[in-house]
Symmetry: C2
Subunit: 250 residues, 2 copies
DNA sequence: TGCATACGTTATGTATACAATAGCGGGGAG
DNA sequence: CTCCCCGCTATTGTATACATAACGTATGCA
């Protein structure tokens, strides 16, 4: 271990996990490909023990699959898997929105969400939206959804939604992007923004059923757009997550 | 490792995971208590590496919580956490039922579910139900729910439901039991059985919305019964899972 | 020529040794 | 008497050595 550079600021396990996840999502490791521990040790700089812990975590996270005879391989997802995951996440977010509405949320708690909303409005104002602005949108959208989830005040639900979001394709906005050119995508984002606005309103007025319904519709919109996107296959380069789709069988 | 008895039929990691889960659910390890690796090594018979892997898996499973300064502790759950988890699971099962209904299921696939149903009917016929019969019921009920989940044909959803069920309190029937004496519990089981029957019927007739609704109602019933059960505190000895409730704050 | 078996290589599963850190207890000083 | 600091101990994080099983290849026999 003479030349091994050890970064003590973060644990080796976390470092390995991040590095491996990166490799998977960037496509360096292809779906179905077996992950060699030895190779992972070389590329991550950690030793076998933390690498193995990282592999276990990534398996639980859903990115890897255990091979019966031993070791792990990168999981492959069908288009159906991905659209189901989006709907799944939407269903859970719907529950979160309902919990938030039923349990009551103070105006102060809604503040950050409204700020988020305003920031997104600002981004969507420019037509056509720029790539940079779109990238900001993705971040803000993720923030909005995370904040919304928090409003449920339900740790088990929040945890589960995190898990469902772990697979990167759970970010609906990225798929919207895939659909077509930016100007067309923007129209869809504007509809999505409308959903965001409605869910806030429903929560404010403590209308649980409406809050839930709109989040589910929100996900259904994302699924429809994913379908279209995969037909068109434009801007797919913006979607590292789609590198995980390799299976033809559905 | 002279005296170490190694059972080569299952991996040490799995063995350790099962043993630790058992200790947690049986209450040998109390919520909030730190799990010592060394101690776990002694009680499980595996060495530190597989024990650590097991701990990571149990953390991902939700039974353990990582301590910032290192190590793991047994997670504690509030009553709210548990009822939310039941509702969460019911929501996911509702989605599964809807998928099954919408995507279509052959009569042959429904066969095992109907057998399960019949077996449960048989058990419920004797009044009052015996403890043994109740125990069989728990098994059969779990089987029914697992089969139903499978019908969705959606690997991501199935996976997520498994995760949501990992926490043992997700088994609604066990909570029903907690409510009161067996004869009273039996009445509730009969209602639950009616739900089972309706969901099968809805799936057969491809009524997605109805299938989903009944599963959610099924979960809501379980939540109501949990609330009652915790007021009455009878038969709690049948509920090892409740050993996980320790927090007074909700 | 093709298949089966045996051997070797390689990778994973397991165990343990080593390193570092956090928590605790004791002792000293204010 | 109390509080703070230093050092020790116990426990986790990391690295590596060892065991074992699987896969591939080569060789021999049918």
């Amino acid at each position: 271990m003479a030349e091994r550079e050890v970064d003590r600021s973060v644990s080796q396990t976390v470092k390995a996990q991040l590095a491996l996840r990166d490799q998977i999502l960037s496509g360096s490791l292809r779906p179905g490909e077996r992950i060699s521990e030895l190779q992972a040790v070389e590329t991550t700089g950690a030793s076998r023990t933390p690498v193995r812990m990282a592999l276990v975590r990534l398996e639980e996270e859903g990115l890897l699959e255990a091979i019966p005879s031993g070791g792990f391989m990168v999981k492959a997802f069908s288009e159906r898997d991905i659209s189901d995951s989006i709907e799944l996440r939407g269903t859970l977010e719907g529950l979160a929105a309902r919990f938030a509405a039923e349990r009551g949320v103070s105006a102060r708690e809604l503040e950050p969400l409204k700020e988020c909303l305003a920031a997104i409005d600002e981004l969507l104002r420019q037509v056509p939206i720029s790539i940079d602005a779109f990238s900001s949108y993705v971040t803000l959208n993720a923030r909005f959804h995370a904040l919304l989830t928090e409003l449920s005040r339900s740790p088990p639900l929040i945890r589960q939604i995190d898990r469902a979001s772990a697979l990167p394709f759970a970010s609906p906005s990225a798929f919207v992007m895939a659909q077509s050119a930016l100007t067309e995508a923007q129209q869809i984002l504007i509809i999505a923004q409308e959903h965001h606005r409605v869910v806030i309103d429903a929560i404010e007025n403590r209308e649980g059923a409406r809050a839930e319904a709109v989040m589910r519709e929100h996900a259904r919109l994302a699924v429809r757009n994913l379908r279209l996107a995969l037909r068109n296959r434009t801007h797919l380069d913006l979607l590292p997550a789609l590198a995980l789709i390799r299976t033809a069988t559905d």
